[in-house]
Symmetry: C2
Subunit: 891 residues, 2 copies
């Protein structure tokens, strides 16, 4: 029969497949559910899996394109139904012994928001009697019919569910019972009559089937489904398949039941299967929460043979799929049927435990086991989280800006945060937005909460770098610094009041939610160790302080890929030093500039020495000053306010403030991203770079005297566009190296940050002078796409995702076709003139698993990311290596 249908012209593809025809490789055509039930049919045989057929996603696409008319679909469905009737020995709509079916949607990826399941399709006022007579179970027949009329009305006809629930509640009240199962056949018969009054129920089973199938198709374009696809980057063009399956009945009495079963514990990953079941119930009762389901373990007492059989099946499925399984089953009068299976979603700790156990059990190789982990979710194991068992009320939502949870008392300034911390209590720093001078508060606070800003705001970036949880952009919250109040709707909070945030979910609550500490469990360490064996990509961290460097090393970083030398200036004690320098730049020759440089050199050298010490024996890439100088000055509005005040009281600070104002005016830029920064500063103000280079050399000499293994210092020149910029900087570096008796190649190396398209285009020429390239993919994304991160992430990216222009922010996962192409070109061209060129990634993409996969393929030597992403990057790098060897391994 298959062969016969196989001869059809290619212009008319097969639109319907029997379960027996499909396999898990046909996921794109049959959907995840259809492919898996087909695969399970092959594996377990028809006696364990009720028969049925799948209408392809292709049919759905045609249906939607053609406004409901698909040539040949009706005929193919009819033929498939006929085959199913023949197998089942029953006919749909047979008044005496009706075939009943379930209708379920099933897209390529699991996708909520579409049509829910319709069970017991095929019943009508006549065949319900036949079913009662045939099964000798009148209550069962009417319970099935009641459920069908309810589901069809609710799901296919869009009748609000509460209408049905109210009728059931009324029926139970009238009879003085509390459970649905306490309603007898007569009550159910009456309920059906009530339900039938809510809409025009079609009595013809073929019409029921057609309408149910079309309703699944239509639900692909329902608002919830569309919204879900946008959020999860699922193309509109996929469409959904429809599965029609012969019913088996868990509601046939006390030897029947329905349940869900995981092949291992779905929370911990422990090897014992877990799940829930309900006797005398259909599947939807288990998940609806109307009755409290029983733990799967209890099945062993109730039906030991079924329990044993189920265990055996779960083990077989797991072995077959090579992954933990999530199944649905039904027991009909003591006989087990498997309805569905799929790889189980699982929290990070379960994923890690499964991976380790699976290798120990011989189920999977290490590569296969590592490939089952969702690297991004490992974040949960690295930060405090809200106790998942603790209920709480969300009082506001914002941007999930930095992962982890925190609770503590509200503070409104960095100083207060320091004070609360010193008193041994936890503080949450709450601000409208944050700036350089708030950074001391970040160190002291347990978490950060701001009313403004997104994922790219100062608060978010600094919090992520430090591993502090942060929620930003909480629109509903007003932070009134003058009144010293935080208002969320009617709620008014003051410093000292307790608050808690979940930076992984963007939640704010005033409930005192217990926190669960992160666990670098034995299993997690095993996974990381295996990953290190498997990966070829190096993993470093971005760290700017000795503390961050130590943290990074503890997380397994193999060096520092980006030490932003200017971040040391951000410390409140140091801001005056750099500010003095910036102001003095306009006035050569009065000694102010030189004095400021001497002071800055002192603090930089000490910081560098601390970082080098923390990274003894490992490479440390120090980036020379990068940001525009006006970033070190106060904001214009703030300065205006200070000036007004100083003028009104004739303050002695007035001349200094006026000098700052002059500097601010002088340095103002229309597009600071594309202005006077990076190596441009180094060329126009060589004394600043010289100060930094001397501080580096001084620190190298300092730690070399103390450490057995000196650090491998790499000086990185940022924002290079022209070969000659680097050459000029090399002259300065060489000159200072000579003075400090440092040898390039031995005591230090010099490379460039590749963050401009031009640099990638002439990488062959730049590589003649550079020991290494580090791709700054944040800025490279900004310039290649013309996307100012500050402006575009909030104003454009959401609209672009909504309109399907892009899948997500190019700042989250690298834009492979544009930015990625330039990275590849940079590596290839660079190695043409310097085959041993060392290349890395120091943008935030370095911590994103998807991007890491790309970088591995692009031939980059290492990635660098924030310390808390290092473990994730180690696993993702291993997965990239595995995928490159065998693309089938990762699904």
């Amino acid at each position: 029969m298959i062969a016969a249908r196989g001869t059809m012209a290619p212009s008319a593809p097969q639109l319907v497949y029997d379960f027996a025809e499909g396999s898990r490789e046909m996921r794109n055509l049959l959907g995840g559910k259809g492919a898996n039930v087909a695969e399970m049919t092959r594996l377990l045989g028809p006696e364990l899996v009720p028969a049925g057929f799948t209408i392809t996603a292709e049919a759905c696409v045609r249906y939607l394109d053609a406004d409901g008319v698909v040539d040949g679909l009706s005929a193919e469905v009819g033929a498939a139904l006929a085959r199913l009737e023949a197998l089942a020995g029953r006919r749909l709509g047979d008044p005496a012994d009706p075939l009943l079916v379930s209708v379920r949607s099933g897209a390529r990826d699991s996708m909520p928001g579409m049509l829910d399941t319709v069970l017991n399709l095929g019943l009508n006022d006549i065949s319900v009697e036949g079913l009662a007579a045939r099964t000798g179970n009148e209550r069962f027949a009417w319970d099935s019919y009641r459920r069908f009329v309810q589901m069809f009305g609710n799901v296919v006809m869009d009748i609000p569910g509460e209408h049905f629930e109210e009728a059931i509640a009324a029926a139970k009240a009238a009879r003085g019972v509390t459970l649905d199962t306490d309603l007898d056949a007569a009550a159910l018969r009456e309920l059906v009559a009530v339900f039938r009054g809510l809409y025009d129920f079609p009595q013809d089973p073929r019409a029921q089937l057609e309408r149910a199938i079309n309703a699944v198709f239509d639900s692909w374009n329902g608002p919830r489904a569309v919204e879900y696809r946008r959020l999860h980057r699922i193309p509109d063009s996929w469409g959904t398949a429809v599965n029609v399956q012969q019913m088996v009945f868990g509601n046939k009495g006390e030897t029947s039941g329905s349940g869900v079963a995981f092949s291992r514990d779905e929370i911990t990953g422990a090897p014992e299967p877990s799940g829930d079941f309900l006797p005398n119930a259909q599947g939807e009762d288990v998940v609806s929460g109307v009755r409290t389901p029983r733990d799967l373990a209890e099945l062993a007492e109730w039906m030991p043979h079924v329990h044993a059989q189920l265990h055996d099946i779960l083990r077989r499925l797991e072995r077959h799929y090579g992954d933990m399984q999530d199944t649905e089953f039904t027991i009909e009068e003591g006989r087990l049927y498997m309805l569905q299976t799929r790889n189980a979603k699982r929290p990070a700790q379960a994923a890690v435990r499964f991976a380790v156990d699976a290798v120990r059990e011989g189920l999977l190789t290490r590569s296969q086991a590592i490939a089952t982990i969702h690297a991004d979710r490992l974040d949960a194991l690295l930060h405090d989280t809200f106790d998942p068992a603790a209920p709480f009320n969300v009082c506001a939502r914002g941007v999930a800006a930095s992962p982890g949870a925190a609770s503590g008392e509200i503070v409104l300034t960095a100083q207060e945060a320091v004070g609360v911390r010193a008193a041994g209590r936890d503080a949450i720093l709450v601000r409208p937005f944050t700036e350089a001078e708030d950074v001391a508060g970040f160190h002291a606070a347990a978490g950060i909460l701001t009313s403004e800003g997104g994922k790219a705001s100062h608060a978010a970036l600094v919090a992520r770098g430090m591993g502090r949880p942060a929620v930003t952009g909480v629109d509903a919250m007003q932070v009134d610094l003058q009144a010293r109040e935080v208002r969320i709707g009617d709620l008014v909070l003051r410093p000292g009041d307790r608050i808690a945030i979940d930076g992984s979910a963007g939640l704010v609550t005033t409930d005192d939610v217990p926190l669960v500490a992160p666990a670098m469990s034995e299993d997690f360490l095993t996974v990381l160790a295996w990953s290190d064996d498997l990966r070829t990509l190096g993993v470093r961290a971005n760290a700017d302080t000795p503390q961050a460097a130590a943290e990074a090393r503890a997380f397994g970083a193999e060096g520092i890929g980006l030490c932003r030398s200017e971040h040391m200036f951000m410390d409140p004690e140091r801001v005056p030093l750099i500010r003095r320098l910036v102001v003095a730049l306009a006035h050569d020759g009065n000694g102010e500039r030189e004095a400021a440089l001497v002071d800055l050199r002192r603090v930089q050298q000490a910081d560098f020495a601390g970082i080098f010490e923390a990274m003894a024996g490992l490479p440390v890439t120090v980036r020379l000053l990068d940001p525009p100088l006006h970033e070190f000055l106060p904001k214009p509005q703030e300065l205006r306010a200070e000036l007004d005040w100083a003028q009104s009281v004739r303050s002695a600070d007035l001349p200094e403030l006026l000098a700052v104002q002059e500097a601010l005016t002088r340095l103002a830029e229309v597009n600071p991203m594309l202005g006077l920064r990076g190596v441009r500063l180094g060329l126009l103000y060589p004394d600043i770079y010289a100060m930094q280079i001397e501080a580096i050399f001084g620190a190298v000499a300092d730690v070399r005297a103390r450490l057995a293994e000196p650090p491998k210092v790499e000086i990185m020149v940022p924002l290079v566009a022209y070969e000659s910029e680097l050459v000029t900087m090399l002259e300065l570096i060489d000159e200072l190296a000579q003075a400090h008796e440092m040898r390039r190649g031995e005591d230090f190396t010099v490379g460039t940050m590749m963050e401009l398209p031009r640099a990638c285009l002439i990488a062959d020429r730049i590589a003649r002078h550079a020991d290494f390239f580090s791709f700054g993919t944040n800025d490279l994304t900004q310039t290649t796409l013309g996307f100012s991160r500050d402006d575009v992430e909030s104003a454009i990216v959401p609209g672009y995702v909504a309109r399907n222009i892009i899948d997500g922010s190019p700042f989250d996962s690298i834009d492979e076709d544009g930015v990625g192409r330039l990275v590849q070109m940079g590596c290839e061209l660079g190695r043409m003139t310097r085959p041993d060129l060392y290349t890395g990634i120091c943008g935030e993409h370095g911590g994103d698993p998807q991007s890491i996969g790309f970088f591995h393929r692009a031939g980059v030597d290492y990635v660098s990311c924030s310390p808390f992403r290092v473990p994730i990057a180690r696993v993702a790098a291993a997965q990239a290596a595995i995928a490159a060897l065998d693309p089938q391994t990762l699904s």
Copy 2:
């Protein structure tokens, strides 16, 4: 002898060449002067060109690299000197009959700032007497010696020239004479004694020669030379050659003299030779201005045979070089010697006339003639200029922001400009800086003058687009709008006072300099017609109004390559319309937005119709809205002032102003260049793009009804980064086209502006949906280089040029290695998927001859530039085609 030296090992290149050995092809080695004197020796024979030798630029490079020690140089110079002595029959330093020589620097390109000429080298206290005896002319001998001791002291020994001039003046005063020629031998002998007291004069002629040669080498690194090279983009690595030539004497009495001669009139290009000469003088007297030289025509009366011979030589040289020549000659006792020749620098009108005459005379082919023109200088023929004969005082200097000269009375507002113009007088609009609402003043004013801003300022861009002269960034000028005063130092000017500006040179004067009107002479039109025959690159104009379109067509534009649809909103009458729309964007549904769009559509359609009519039969590329919307709102400070005022008087405008303020806050961006603009606006506010597209279709329908030849309308979508952006816009365009019965491919085409690196990198995919690409090289330069034009041109480019990082602004001539590479990549990839893809350039580079050469080679179909650059682009495009055929044709 040549062969013998030719056998030297390649590691020891020949460092000295006799004139007889060289040729014009050896310019890089011998310098321009050395190569030309060698060529002239070949052409005219040794009897007309005094013998000598050239020390190569390579020798100079080695000398500077090796701190003065060059192996074998001294021996080679000695040998060359011996050959010269043999030819001359005299020896250097012979007490009885000394050989005298001149020593001159001569780099590859003419380069002032190096060592000046030293004449009469070889004389000393003894040989001067021998010279006197041998020539029987004591005065001549002592005049020669006086000149030598003076020049050697001044040029080689760095003795300030005024010390010598003072001594000469004292000598003349003592003798009561006024001219140098009136000083007799005794007086000159005394002068030499005085000069010898000024420094330690070397008596040894070989030492004189060595020191003079080394002084030439050293002068390559003199501050003036270094500065000149930086300004004119000449590599430091070239070095200079040194020419040593046997002296002939124009100061041997009344049958001797020196002069300069051009093969044609150096001002007009008329065929008669022109120049100056002085009897009884050496060459430096002619140019020093000590005595007033006589016109070359007078030579015909004084020495008819020499005059005729010179004419003949000039013709021969011109024929030989295929270009107008600029020569130096000396007459020694009635006999003519040619000392130098080179291609003559000449003003635009002379260049044009020469080109046309040269073809008519059969001297050059059309291609060769076109190649002799410096296309960039043709600008002078397209704008008013200051009368070159009129003297004037420069009272301030600024940026040469838009070429041409203008004079008129000072006005301070657009309104005043309109008033003065209406009264039939010329106005110069003087402002601190200009903005959108000043544009009406640009139309009315003869010229624009601002105290702030550079070449990329609003004033500069708009003025260039309109062909109005402009000087910007006049730091020394304060424009006090409140006091209604313009202050330049102590000078205070007020509205109505006359002022004049030269926008080609960046000059400001209060003198009433007469203007010379531009001449599209017959010859110029001929040159343009020939250029059109020769070129393959199309030339269009950037024009935003019907007037500009008409102007562009008159200048020969073959269409409009860029019509910035938003420029129509800049008209002061229309600013309120667009402002209303921008404010309304925040408040959907109250009808304001729709009403504003209806009004805007009306004015846009009328403007488009006017432009299409002016371009009947030609292509017009209309770019949809591009700039960020906040550009249509007032500046924050201005609005603040208006708001303060409105609040103080409780104005009825207050709500409106508050709404504008809200819009300004909402739309503020950190980096507007990389923010919400271009197609991003079209995607997020499709109704604005729909309005523009409907206005275009409406205008097409309108003019089609009236014109025999409808325009070829090309709709251009700006700032595309993703293929899907264009696809989404195409859906909108197709939908509206259907509604307006317009057919893509027939009534209009659709393309993209390529101005982001990503677009060039995925051009193959974009080309699937685009009929044409137009490279917006301004923005592509900004993103590829990370250079915000507003910030970088003034703050970074000058410093970068000074440090030899770049040759000049990448906004003037295209950065071939980076931006150019992307343009090439865009063309190549685009044609892979659409072989008939039409490509153009619409950045300002489209009017730059150097960039046009690149675009021709890159295979672009056309360039588009401001109307006034169109003739230049036509010539440059022809030169590009000529150069591509025969790279030798253009030097």
